[in-house]
């Protein structure tokens, strides 16, 4: 178990790093005229970040190695969510469908 002082030290250290990462680029860059190349690069961050987040969640190599059936569960669920996202564009429907299909496939596969 962590002591209250250990939790406090951990909290303070993590908070400093988190706040620096969350605020410094925004505070330093906002309102500045940036080169066209940099502005184009910034415009690509959403697609890059979302793709990286999805890949990070889907590519569970350790789990796949120990339980290959998880590949089917994870990617089939993701495929269904893609269809729902394309048709509805709703975050809520995607979240609910994703959890439902994932749970169902986890039971039957």
């Amino acid at each position: 178990m962590m002591s209250p002082s250990q939790i406090a030290v951990l909290w303070a250290a993590l908070l400093v790093v988190m706040l620096a990462c969350r605020t410094l680029p925004l505070v330093l860059l906002r309102g500045r005229s940036l080169p066209a190349r940099v502005e184009r690069a910034i415009g690509m961050i959403p697609a890059a970040a979302f793709s990286a987040l999805v890949a990070n969640d889907l590519l569970q190599f350790d789990t796949f190695a120990s339980d290959p059936r998880r590949v089917l569960v994870v990617f089939a669920s993701a495929g269904v969510v893609c269809v729902v996202a394309r048709r509805s564009g709703s975050l809520l429907w995607c979240a609910l469908t994703g959890m439902g299909v994932y749970a169902l496939l986890g039971l039957v596969v």
């Binding site: 969350r22 505070v27 910034i42 959403p46 975050l91 994703g98």
Partner: protein, 230 residues
């Protein structure tokens, strides 16, 4: 702020809040196992406010990691916030410093996604609604963590199923990106970068490295082919 704008912000926050409650409770349960009280779980979650980071803390502690090692490992995961913060810079150019800081301090993977999606839509999204989204999501996360810490080991929740709700939100946001060759190159290279990092055992920085690789490849692709370059 009028009721209509508040409704828009809360409507956008609702799916994320649902996912946060689903994931926040098991996260609080794990935090309780390493000594967090409901109050410390609430304060930790409301200020540090990071799902991935907060799941890592109890896991690493129970695996015998030192405090220094935990801070270092979790900080690597935090680096992706640098990209999110950079992406918002063009949209908050006219805002005051305190408002900017207030907004930036509460950006997560999910609120980055929904707010940037609205800003990029060109439909007049503003910082007030963006902050409402951030605060509502933060409160749902912090309260869910406190509830989980209070419940302790009384509940047994399927964390993998619940966390897939987050994955589904990211998939929805990715599918909403403009369809172009550049987007395909950016997304493909980002995913490849993540895969490579994970195979090399650099999971802690995979999102940051993957996203940076995606952006670099996208810029090079545009400059090399002339696609999408204005």
């Amino acid at each position: 702020m009028d009721a209509q704008k508040m409704g828009q912000a809360m409507g956008l926050a609702a799916p994320v809040m649902l996912a946060y409650v689903s994931i926040g409770i098991p996260c609080g349960v794990m935090e309780a196992q390493v000594g967090f009280t409901p109050l410390t779980a609430f304060l930790f979650s409301g200020t540090y406010y990071s799902g991935a980071g907060q799941f890592m803390v109890p896991n690493l502690w129970m695996a015998g990691a030192s405090l220094f090692s935990i801070v270092l490992s979790v900080s690597f995961v935090t680096t992706r916030q640098l990209l999110y913060s950079t992406a918002f810079a063009p949209y908050l150019a006219g805002e005051g410093r305190m408002r900017t800081l207030g907004f930036a301090a509460l950006v997560t993977d999910e609120t980055f996604g929904v707010n940037l999606d609205r800003y990029a839509s060109g439909e007049g999204w503003d910082s007030t609604r963006a902050i409402v989204v951030n605060v509502a999501c933060m409160l749902s996360w912090a309260l869910a963590n406190a509830l989980g810490a209070a419940l302790g080991s009384v509940v047994d929740m399927p964390i993998d199923v619940l966390s897939f709700g987050m994955t589904a939100i990211f998939i929805c946001l990715l599918m909403g990106q403009p369809a172009s060759r550049t987007t395909a190159v950016v997304a493909g290279c980002a995913a490849a970068g993540v895969a490579l990092c994970k195979l090399l055992g650099w999971g802690g920085v995979s999102i940051f490295v993957g996203a940076v690789l995606g952006v670099v490849c996208g810029v090079l692709f545009e400059e090399g082919t002339g696609h999408d370059v204005a």
